[in-house]
Amino acid sequence: MSFATQLMDIALIVTFVVIALAQAMSMIRLVMGPSTGDRILALDTMVVNAIGLIVLLGIAQGVRIYFEVSLIIAMLGFVSTVAYARFVLRGDIIE
Amino acid sequence: MTHWIIAPVVLPALLAPFIVLAARYHIGIQRVFSIAGVLALIFVAAGLAWQASDGTITLYQLGDWAAPFGIVLVADRLSTLMVLLTAVLALFVLLYAIGSEWDNRGRHFHALFQFQLMGIMGAFLTGDLFNLFVFFEVLLIASYGLMIHSGGNARLRAGVQYVLFNLLGSTLFLFALGAIYAEAGTLNMADLAQRVRLIDGAETVGIRLAAVLLLLVFAIKAAVLPLHFWLPSSYAEAPAPVAALFAIMTKVGAYAIIRVYTMIFSPDLDVTAGLHTTWLMPAALASLAIGMIGVLAARHLDRLVAFAVIGSMGMVMVAISLFTPTSITAALYYTVHSTLAAAALFLIVDLVRTGRADLNLIAQPVVPGAALTSALFFLAAIAMAGLPPLSGFVGKLLVLDAAFSTSAAAWIWAVVLSSSLICVVGFSRAGSTLFWKAKSMPVADEPAETTAATPAPATLSYVAVGGLLTLLVAHTVFAGPATAYMADISDQLFNPEPYIETVLDTPGKLSTPKEGY
């Protein structure tokens, strides 16, 4: 029991650190580019990782109410990615 | 349970969506409802003012929650006076807007107008600082819409700056509110007034920051130097009736300063000593000076009037910044005067505009109706410049009198008097160029072109201007009772205990009064 929870705690911390690192790496790609597609991709990745982060927080804090937040981020991340891309493709995103 | 207090907020708030829903395409119906709404507002406001005139403080607990936990509206002498002033101003402005067809030169004028009134009324009535923020935003966003009403390049460009400036102001307001809540844990003004008295002298930084940030926020609204830059272009470019309505908006800032810095951070409060009392006065004097110098320097009539507004706000702020009962009395008297005079002037500017190519202060051929317009301009200019016999002069005397025994008297007198002179010179130059010099012009070859572009003003426009000027005359003739009432208001402000007790000791849903300490 105690080993399992310990393991889980360690796993949680590792996961936190890894996701944070992944975020930072995506950020680097975002700033570096070079193409707009790369930047949108980096943003999209960060949104997805952010969902992971919030899920992790839910596990770590034993709180379940972050579900709605994750769900919304999942929905909206998609919409904003499409919006950015449509802007690059067409200029007008609602045409 | 009487619900009259909330009527000035709810009435326009329901009327506006109703106009949008039911009368979007019928300007005639919009006008009827808009006028009816404003008349009802005047009626309600007069009733509230009457109720408050004997010193009664009426509390309205929204959602039945007791202060400080819920939001309350408070009607005392000051707030009801401002509400009444707003309602009366609104009527004449609306008449002008209809008479001049301004309301039909873009969409949603009447809805925005009602929303604007709602915001102003709420700001005057609320007893809660965050709610004040919300109403500021309501009145601001409506004002954006009204300011750019009917479009046009210059107006939109000025509009951008106006909005940006106010966005900064709103941001600052939130910083101030954050500081207040972080320091005192409350948002209700009366509660805050009590809580700041618990702060001990060893830890004053927090509340001082809060107090000074809040002061800056209100100073922006009141166009106090050096936070006045938003005003000239936006007032000059706004459609005339809108600029006229805006005359009350700067007063919202003045009102808030009076309210907050007499009740909460009163001059005798040690922890905030030296904040508003040190810097407001020089800033107010500078505003007065800049405003009047601007009158002299202006090359366009609309900007001239805008600067006159800054100057007259400077005057109000000079009086406020003394924070004595007599000075607040003077400030209130001058506030009413300044609102009516500025509104009248903006409307007259629009009358002048009719038939002229532009508002450049250069002579242009004289147009029909100029005689009446020039007479109205002369009267309004007299009022604005503080010349006798109109209320500006009385107000100026009140301010000077209130300043007499203070340490800043010499400064105040020097600035007030010399800026008056500059203002007189500025107005006389403008007036003689616009109305007299035109007579020496050779008859223009193509006057038809300019006059045909804008039709002659309707009688209703003159009625609106005449009404405002009549109010100014009344404000002068009945200066005695008026100042006596302002003194009563001032008295109530400097004895805030009944206000605080009314707000905090009235139980609401599920509450025992004064829970928490």
């Binding site: 919409v79 609602i94 | 929204l62 936990f69 969409r107 400036f165 900064l168 010349l387 006389s428 005695g480």
Partner: protein, 956 residues
Amino acid sequence: MSLFLIVALPFFGALLPGLMNSAGRQACAGITFTVSLAAFIGLLTNLPAVLAGDLVTARVDWIPSLGMNFTLMLDGLGFFFALLILGIGLLIIAYARSYLSRDDNMGEFFTYLLLFQGAMVGIVLSDNILLLLVFWELTSLSSFLLIGYWKHLPEGRQGARMALTVTGMGGLAMIGGMLILGQIAGSYDLSVILQNRDLIQADPLYVPALLLILLGCFTKSAQFPFHFWLPHAMAAPTPVSAYLHSATMVKAGIFLMARMWPVLSGTPEWFVIVTTAGLITMVLGAIIALFKHDLKALLAFSTVSHLGLITMLLGTGTAFGAMAAMFHILNHATFKAALFMSAGIVDHEAHTRDIRRLGGLRHLMPITFIIATLAALSMAGIPLLNGFLSKEMMLEEATHTVLFGAPWLVPALATFGSLFSAAYCFRLIGHTFLGPVRDDYPAKPHDPGAGMWLPPAILVVLVVMIGVAPFLAEPFVKVVTASVLGDTAEVPKAYFKIWHGLVPALFMSVIAVVGGLLMLAIFNPALRLWETTPRPEAKTIFEALIAAIVALSQRFIHGLHNGAFTRYGAIMAVTVIVAGFYAWSTGTVGPASREMQPVTPVAFAGWVMLLAATIGMVFLHRNRLMSLILIGIAGLMVSVGFVYFSAPDLAMTQITVEVVTIILLLLALNFLPNQTPIESTAMRRTRDTAIALAGGLATMGMAWHFLVRDAITTPISEFHLANSYKGGGGTNVVNVILVDFRGFDTYGEIIVLGIAALLIYALTETLLSGPVRARLLNRKPDQPRAGDMHPTMMVVLTRVIMPVVLMVGFYIFLRGHNEPGGGFIAGLVVSIAVVMQYMASGFSWASARLRYPYHGVIGAGVLIAGLTGIGSWFVSKPFLTSDFTYVRIPPFEKFELATAALFDLGVFLAVVGAVMLSLESFSRLARRAHVPDTEHPMDIDPSRDDPPMTPAREGV
């Protein structure tokens, strides 16, 4: 007659000429005359009381708290001046009727004249000095209108503005002086102030008050160095000059000095200032007058000179001086008004006032000649005319006056001034009327009708009468003098008589007259000398000064308000930072009272990313799309931060708003340039960086300060936590606060949103109906567009996902009261679902199939929220009082019905309507010309051109 009526008659009467304008000139003048006459008679009814030494008073409270009341009093002095004002006024009205031409608007003229008359009467009858100030300034204003009456003349406009500026300045100074005086005396009532001579003169503020009041008097009475405006005011029609600048307005300053004489005079300051100013004015005015060729200018400067004389007399501070002053006022008013009117007649008939073009008029206009000559000789101080009498008294007083320790100074200068005075009088007579008749007058002069010569003739009769029989005037002048002196001195016993014996004054008089004649003899060489002498031209200086001030203020104002938001913003930021720093540095800081929480790696990573996004925005902001992506990151990090610090509602709101904002910005960016060029200098960027860093440090410091300290007492939110479920029926306290505890804020908030949408819609309409429309329709994209407007995959996916998103929105709405969510977020989610549809299939296709009346949705939302609030009125509860209950309808679980949910529905609808109306507006802007509405939901659909196996269509 009541004093009120006397003052009020001209004011109310002023309405009549304007109204009578259409009834004709005669009617206009007649009504004006009648009004004036009524006031005049009213004044005379008080004569017995005045002669008896009684004080007639009248009082109505105006602003008691300020001590400003409508208090009038009539004593000898007031009566005297009122008599001049109304009496000469009557003559002027009669004269003006004939003088004004058909082109002049008579109603306007007489309106101004009556206003002026009323103001003047007001001044002399005021008992309250604040009231007096009102009338004082009114004379400035009405004289502004009168001087500028001939609007087409530049001189008229300039003269009017100069007069207003100078007298206005004096008036403002006087406000200061009077207020000080009133404060010292404890009352603004003259009757009180005049009793307090010792108190006032002992007060340290006496000198400032004196200076300020004298500034007012000197400017009004054209005393040196403020004498320059008066001649330029001569651009006015002659009746105005005759009235304002002989008998009335310029005498207002003199009147006030006389009125204040009991309290202000007798001190060394008073003596030195007033006497010196008077003396200089007298001499200077006389010299200048001699060399003026314009009759009215000559008279104007002579007026200046005589006002100096009177001022000097008042300055001596003796009772005799005061009496002489009063007597000279009377005399001057009579001969000078007559002279002005004569000059007007000459101008009117000969069409010139230039002395050099005149001469010999004696034969052509004998009546005018007699009138003018008698008046001028009186002014020159020739015996048997009234001017002689008062001038003798002046010279007598001068011999007793020692200024600057030199006993000879005042007599010498007085004689010198009288000499020039005599000289210009002789020149006026000689060069205008004497000499040979010329044949080059601009018009053929002849005597005018009686309407014009009778008024001055009446005055000349007075001139001669008083000159021959001074004792006729003596009692009256003594009554007046008594009221000037008040309790401070006895009226001198001296009798008014022509012959006083061989006193020094007589010799001085003789010198003056003889010298004056000699001066005229050598006039031409003297004129050449005068013309070659460089001297400052006051008008030029004044105008240059005003122009300089205007230019300076324009430079200052337009330089400061240069329309640069960047500057305004910087000033605002610096102001806020400095003010905050001031508040901070003058306060006290105690120790931190809260423990800091440890930093976790994930928080640190979030912080780094926020930092990176912000810095990225600063450095990469020129690429606008890039900065939009970066702000997306910043927003994402902020919302993750909100989750981290236990604010799920906030996180959801933040992220949804974020996305909608980005969509809006992308829609706008479609029209805007995609790049921001480099424009600001390195200097500017450095400055901005400094301000930004200071601002950042300031907010950081402030946030830090509060974060490590507790609030002074329990925050009110304890109550919300404790009562959210009990009183609000919800476990999500944030939501309960939003829809219940502070529902009123939310009500305002949705209204803000609604207004925003209306505004955006209204502006779109305006743009689309204006000149912008054509540009929009023919707009070329600034970057090539890809093909495939409505990608197939996106369209197909949206068809499935949109219902799911709508369901999620519905879920979030329902759960809001107890779990994170609520109407606002639900509204945004639903909006985004619809936006997805728009993005997939295009606005035109989507809205052609289903077009929501978004205006109506907003309106309905706001109305529902408002009506929910009003609903509580019917159970006698305040606006927005909530109620809730739990119900059970099988097969559903027990669920809650709350009015707050209805309110939240209003929020929901308002949000959906507002967001969609805004997006729709932007989208409408983007529609180009010649682009037909899309017919199909997706651009590529192989099933369209290539129908698949038909039987399958029956299936399922």
